[in-house]
Amino acid sequence: MTVQLSHFSAAFVFALFASIVFGITHRETTRDMVRYGLYCFAMFLGGVLAAGWAMWLVRR
């Protein structure tokens, strides 16, 4: 069995699970964990989108 993910879906899955672990391990309270996890997720995906658009601009 082989899983084929697109570049974006691979980045999405990576961001989701890495953010969960970061949130749990880097903060003390449940509320802070959720907030930090969401922050990391936004930064991961935002970074992917920003880098994608930057490369698109460089290519043109």
């Binding site: 069995m1 082989t2 899983v3 084929q4 993910l5 691979a10 899955v13 990576f14 989701l16 699970f17 890495a18 969960i20 672990v21 970061f22 749990i24 391990t25 003390e28 309270t29």
Partner: protein, 139 residues
């Protein structure tokens, strides 16, 4: 004067004794991701860690990622091995079953290799967190 008294008090404090849990929790947490939290009754955190790290590792395998074995060659191969080793039981099972041979034909296989390395590195962080809970540094 008050400062010197405080400093003396701090210096006189005995080091915190290592409890059994501070050894067991990181060890079992390395072997089974999230188990170090579960053994300390942090069920939801442990379950989330297990699902996150486990899914990342298994997805890496299903994407035909390459698993690194102990080696003394290229520095990137050594670092890859250290990352993979962090996954503990998942890594041992993969080696035992001879999975993770990697498929050069798939471009996505390289993502899979990175997924497994990151899963191991995330488990190292989870192990450190379990240790901090065990010594009372974190709730």
């Amino acid at each position: 004067m008050a400062n010197s008294t405080t400093a003396k008090t701090k210096a006189a404090e005995p080091a915190q004794p290592a409890s059994m849990m501070s050894v067991i929790a990181p060890a079992i947490g390395w072997l089974i991701p999230g188990a170090g939290h579960m053994i300390q009754k942090r069920w939801i955190r442990g379950l989330l860690l297990l699902v996150s790290i486990g899914t990342l590792f298994v997805l890496g395998l299903l994407m035909q990622g390459h698993i690194y074995k102990a080696n003394g060659g290229d520095i990137l191969d050594i670092l890859g091995f250290i990352g993979d080793l962090g996954a503990g039981g998942l890594y041992i099972t993969t080696l035992t079953m001879n999975w993770g041979q990697g498929a050069i034909a798939f471009a996505i296989a390289d993502y899979g290799t990175k997924f497994m390395i990151v899963a191991g590195l995330l488990n190292f962080i989870a192990v450190a967190d379990a240790y901090h809970i065990a010594i009372g540094k974190k709730q």
